[in-house]
Symmetry: C2
Subunit: 213 residues, 2 copies
C-alpha cells in the first residue's frame, strides 16, 4: 500500500509546512524578522524544533520563504491596480495609494519586507522581487506612453527608479524610530502626506501632464 501512504505523508508534510509558515508570518508581522527564531517559532507552531529543521534548513531559508509569501501578495495587489481601468496616470495614483495604505496598516511587516537588516537569503529575494515590481511599473509606463499620460524614455531604468523611490519613501516613516516617535505623540509623517509626496514625485518624474490631483 506504499503507493497510498507516500502521497498522504506528503500532504501531511505540506499541511504542516503551511502551518509553520503561517505562524512565522504572524511572528514577523508582530516583531519583524528579528522576532523570528527557530525556538520561538517551534513553540508558536506547537512542533519540536527538530521538526522545523526537517522543513527548513534554518532561519535564513524560513525568513526568505516568509518574505516571498508576503511580498507576492503586495505585488499582486499592485498589479491589479496598475492593470485596472482608467488612464495610466490614474492607475499609478491608485496603485501607490493602496501600496502605501497597506504598508501603513502593517507597518512592522512592511518595514521587515522593505528594509529590515536580515539574512542574505532575504536580501536575495528582495533583489528578485524588486525586479518583479519594476516589471509592473515598466508595463504601466508603456501603457502611459500609449495613452498620453507619460513621456518616459528609457522605460526599464525609469521603472527601476520608481521602485527605488517608492521603497525609500516608505523606509523612514515605517522605521522603528518613526513608530516609536509616533507612539510617544511626537510629530510624524501622516499616511496622506507620504502618499501625496510619493505620487507627486512619481507623476512628475514620468512627465505626467497633470501633476498633483
Amino acid at each position: 500500500m506504499a503507493y497510498r501512504t507516500t502521497p498522504e505523508r506528503q500532504q501531511r508534510d505540506q499541511a504542516l509546512r503551511e502551518h509553520i509558515l503561517d505562524c512565522a508570518l504572524d511572528q514577523v508581522r508582530a516583531g519583524g524578522f528579528n522576532a523570528l527564531t527557530m525556538s520561538s517559532l517551534a513553540n508558536a507552531a506547537g512542533v519540536a524544533t527538530g521538526s522545523l529543521y526537517r522543513h527548513f534548513s534554518g532561519k535564513g531559508e524560513l525568513a526568505a520563504e516568509v518574505f516571498v509569501r508576503a511580498t507576492r501578495i503586495e505585488v499582486d495587489k499592485l498589479r491589479s491596480q496598475f492593470t485596472g481601468t482608467g488612464t495610466a496616470s490614474e492607475r499609478l495614483q491608485r496603485g501607490l495609494t493602496l501600496f502605501a495604505a497597506r504598508a501603513w496598516h502593517s507597518r512592522q511587516l512592511a518595514y521587515a519586507l522593505i528594509a529590515e537588516p536580515v539574512d542574505p537569503e532575504v536580501d536575495n529575494q528582495r533583489l528578485r522581487y524588486r525586479e518583479a515590481y519594476a516589471e509592473l511599473y515598466a508595463d504601466l509606463i508603456r501603457a502611459g506612453r500609449d495613452d498620453g499620460s507619460f513621456t518616459a524614455e528609457h522605460i526599464p531604468l525609469t521603472a527601476a527608479c520608481l521602485v527605488g523611490a517608492v521603497a525609500e519613501a516608505l523606509v523612514g516613516p515605517l522605521s522603528p524610530q518613526a513608530r516609536a516617535a509616533r507612539a510617544s505623540g511626537l510629530p510624524s509623517d501622516s499616511l496622506e502626506s507620504v502618499t501625496r509626496t510619493m505620487v507627486r514625485f512619481s507623476l512628475r518624474a514620468l512627465g505626467a501632464k497633470e501633476s498633483i490631483r
Copy 2:
C-alpha cells in the same frame, strides 16, 4: 616604561587594523563581499586568522567596516559636487554624473555597497548611510528651492525618493548578470544612457524648469 609601551602597542595595533581593512577592501573590490572570508583575508594580509579575530569579531563586523570606509568616500565626493558652484540644478547633474561614473569604474565594489546580499551588519550601515545621502539631497533641494531650480514640497521625503531612485537605477546595470552580459558582448546599458535617465528622472521629479541638458 609601561607609559611608553602602551601607546606604542596601540599604534601598532591601529596600523595593523588599517592594513587589514585595506586588504579587505581590495578583496571586496575584486569579488564583492562574497569573496571576503576570514581565511582568505588572513592570507592576503599576511597575518594569522587568530590575529584577525583580535581586531574584528567576525565577517559581519569586518564587512560593515569596509562598507563604511568605502561609502564615506562616495558621500564626500557627492557632497563636494552638491555644495560646489552653479545652480542647484547644475550641481545635481554634476553630482549624479560623478556618482554614476565612479560606480561604473568600480562596478563590483559599487554593487557590493549598494545591493549585494550580505550580513545584516552591512544592511544596518546601508540604512544609516542612505540617511546620510538623503541629507545631502535635502540640502541641495533646499538650495534649489531658494535659487529657483526646484519646486519640491516635502523635502525630506523627496530626498529619500531620490536616494532610492538613484540607487535602484544602478543596481541592474551593476549586477553580476549585467556584467556577465557585457563581458560576452551582449547589448547592455551604457554609462551615458544610465546617467542621462537618472538625471532626467531626478530633475523632472524635482520640478526643474529645464529638463534634460
